[in-house]
């Protein structure tokens, strides 16, 4: 614990350098890579929100894609039916998407937060499927399985149809979200969430209203999910029930586990790896699914703390071999 605290500024520096690298290198690559990076960044906001629930509050949710969906569908419907959100009001739609995600989470939270563990998983799965069902059947609103096409990207002084410009906008929103979530988890509220993750009963005894803490965390995750949805709608240009189906929620969860839960950026790393494998490697070789499968299985077996846990495990492994070396020296010294 003490070692990780002292290396904290170092970790922050690493993150800043990585973000700067992304911002500088990406526009120089070809348009397809820019598109992939933009998609990964937009989805990463949802993944980070899942991490807040899983890594920081200890709640594994299988229904977070529902909030991405409400944000995405709201954007699509406003843009195609009412022509809202294609100019400066894009920023309003961004906030509206977040608010919608938060509102939905507030409603679902009443049902879900009373449960824990496996039951929470099941309830969130069921609620996510409700949203999928609505997206699929409410043809007049959502276009059913045909989905809704967003023909244009917003233009406000700058034209977001330009891939590089859009990348910068998404990158900006991503950085702001990362900062916001980082501030949240380092705040006293965030610390209480960690406490609830570790020992909820003890937190209750200490006088914390754990239900309220979890509920608020759920709403915040929903808000970021909705935000992610607005950006996601514009990257793909089409919103369909596929965005809210179970595999999408599972994806987000898996990305967090792959990268390392409880680290925020772990989810982002996981997101880049999965998108890179699924959408870039798949254009190069047909056996990309095996690679993805091996990555998942190997992570669960050998790196349960995710990729971000590698430095810690290395440290432990080195400490253990160091101790063994000491013990052997002592044993050989004594006759």
């Amino acid at each position: 614990m003490i070692t990780s605290m002292s290396s904290h500024p170092f970790k922050i520096l690493l993150v800043v350098v990585a973000l700067a690298a992304i911002a500088v290198i990406t526009p120089g690559t070809n348009s397809f890579v820019i598109l992939l990076v933009t998609r990964a960044l937009a989805f990463s906001i949802l993944v980070m929100s899942v991490d807040i629930l899983l890594g920081y509050t200890g709640l594994a949710s299988l229904g977070q894609a529902a909030y991405l969906a409400v944000g995405a569908y709201a954007t699509a419907i406003l843009a195609t039916r009412y022509h809202i959100g294609l100019g400066w009001d894009f920023w309003l739609v961004l906030l509206f998407g977040a608010a919608l995600g938060a509102a939905l989470a507030a409603i679902f939270g009443f049902l879900a937060i009373r449960a824990t563990g496996v039951y929470f998983l099941m309830i969130t799965l069921a609620l996510g499927q409700c949203v999928w069902g609505l997206a699929y059947r409410w043809n007049s609103l959502t276009g059913g399985d045909n989905g809704i096409n967003l023909r244009d990207r917003p233009k406000f002084g700058i034209d977001l149809a330009n891939e590089v410009t859009f990348f910068y906008v998404v990158f900006g929103v991503f950085v702001v979200s990362l900062l916001a979530m980082y501030t949240l988890v380092r705040s006293p509220f965030g610390r209480s969430l960690a406490g609830i993750r570790e020992r909820e009963l003890r937190m209750k005894i200490l006088g914390y209203n754990t239900w309220l803490h979890k509920y608020i965390a759920f709403i915040i995750a929903g808000a970021f999910g909705g935000l992610s949805g607005v950006l996601w709608a514009h990257t793909a240009g089409i919103v369909s029930p596929v965005n809210v189906e179970l595999p999408t929620s599972v994806d987000a969860l898996l990305m967090v586990v792959l990268g390392g839960s409880g680290t925020l950026v772990g989810g982002v790393i996981g997101s880049f790896i999965v998108f890179g494998l699924r959408e870039y490697l798949s254009t190069l070789v047909p056996w990309w699914q095996y690679v993805l499968g091996v990555v998942y299985v190997a992570t669960i077996l050998y790196l349960p703390t995710g990729l971000m846990g590698i430095p810690e495990r290395l440290r432990q492994w080195r400490a253990r071999t160091g101790n063994r070396g000491e013990a052997r020296k002592l044993a050989s010294a004594t006759p």
């Binding site: 989905g147 240009g237 596929v242």
Partner: protein
């Protein structure tokens, strides 16, 4: 330092390009980007699509009128946003001259705006969503369809049903847009000639147990019209027969097409369906195609393979007209739309809304030997041909477009008690 370096690099690069251009001055390359689901639940359909197109390329040794075809296949996993990503990769990274493919209606709707935004030709062999070439046509100037529209075969089929003397028909179709359009087209046509659709049942896409639906089929119906896809096509006739059904069964093309027919049993003998293709078409081109396809891929070709083979043929014909030089997307569409084609499925032309005008075949499932094969197998024998059917069928284009697109509630079920 950097300026001399960049200048030297520039010279090298320029020299390289010049050499490269000289070297390839002979053969032009035609890059075709193909989008199909090669993984996921539709992987087998995607394979059929790719195999159909590839078979034509192999027959002409990748030579389209002098241009060397580079065929790049990308996996859309039957997800619209993956389709968009892959299409953008094909356009931006591989710099393809045209996009072909897309399986589901949602993929078609996802790829069409990409073609508009990037000004790249998009040829649609499979995706049958009506509005792509109807009410939404103006949004997609670079789109042209070489396959069919969902309701296109249903319009003459409705008329055929009246001629058989059916008065009341119960319809059961997969609960999604494709289902609505096929059933809707049939209902419009059948009711226009005096018939009545007395029931519309919509089992969800992917239903395997029709137990809740079959007993509700109205006893006073003269026949049952079914629109099934994939595994539903296999299960529904079996369960219907097991329930003791005696009514004649008719259906949309995907309920009985060659994708599922070999796996079906004798319960479908006598069932009638409609499509712009049947593997049992008795013409020399089709016979050669079926034999060659079966020898190469081990199965009778379905319409997924045929439509891609035919689309490749149509593209080849236009490229021949241009001596192997790609004339640009707009000119290509004009030429593709203006030409007449003699294809496996019969004569094909393209209407002014960029959808094919072609024969629609009414086909009946029969067990017999065909094309010299020595086993009795299930084949979709053609019992009637309606020539020159366009996407509006027997209806006037303006009236047709003034009504909404076929959906769950349109046409309304006036005779459903």
């Amino acid at each position: 330092m950097t300026s001399t370096l960049t200048r030297r690099l520039g010279l090298l690069l320029g020299g390289g390009i010049a050499l490269g251009l000289n070297a390839t001055a002979g053969a032009e390359e035609l890059r075709i980007g193909y989008v199909a689901p090669t993984t996921g639940i539709f992987a087998q359909v995607g394979k059929d699509m790719v195999d159909g197109f590839q078979m034509y390329l192999d027959e002409v040794k990748n030579d389209f009128g002098g241009a060397q075809v580079k065929f790049i296949v990308e996996d859309e996993q039957a997800k619209p946003d993956t389709a968009v990503t892959k299409a953008k990769k094909l356009i931006l990274q591989d710099k393809v001259h045209m996009l072909v493919g897309g399986l589901l209606a949602s993929s078609g709707y996802a790829l069409a705006p990409v073609s508009t935004a990037e000004k790249v030709l998009y040829v649609v062999p499979v995706s049958a969503a009506d509005d792509l070439t109807q009410r939404d046509l103006a949004k997609y100037p670079y789109l042209i369809r070489t396959g069919w529209s969902s309701s296109q075969p249903s319009h003459p089929f409705g008329q055929w049903a009246c001629e058989q003397g059916y008065k009341k028909i119960a319809a059961i179709g997969a609960d999604y847009a494709f289902g609505y359009e096929v059933v809707g087209g049939f209902q419009r046509a059948f009711e226009a000639c005096g018939g009545q659709i007395v029931q519309k049942i919509w089992p969800p896409l992917g239903t395997k147990d029709f137990g809740p639906y079959i007993p509700t089929i109205r006893a006073d119906a003269d026949a049952i019209f079914s629109l099934m896809v994939g595994p539903m096509s296999l299960q529904f006739p079996k369960q219907l027969a097991a329930s003791g059904n005696k009514k004649p069964v008719i259906g949309g093309g995907t309920s009985y097409d060659e994708f599922v027919l070999p796996s079906m049993g004798d319960e479908v003998i006598g069932h009638v369906s409609t499509l712009q293709y049947s593997a049992a078409l008795q013409n020399p081109k089709n016979e050669a195609f079926v034999k060659a396809y079966r020898a190469k891929y081990g199965k009778v070709p379905s319409y997924y393979s045929e439509t891609n083979y035919t689309s490749a043929q149509m593209i080849h014909q236009v490229m021949k007209q241009n001596n192997g030089k790609f004339p640009g997307a707009e000119a290509f569409i004009k030429q593709l739309a203006a030409a007449k084609y003699d294809t496996l499925r019969g004569p094909v032309t393209i209407d002014e809304m960029r959808n094919p005008v072609q024969n629609i075949y009414i086909k009946k499932v029969e067990k017999k030997k065909m094309f010299g094969y020595d086993k009795d197998e299930l084949w979709n024998t053609v019992i009637k041909t309606y020539p020159n059917v366009n996407q509006f069928g027997q209806f006037k284009k303006e009236e047709f477009l003034a009504t909404p697109v076929y959906n769950r509630d349109y046409p309304p079920c006036k005779f459903c008690n």
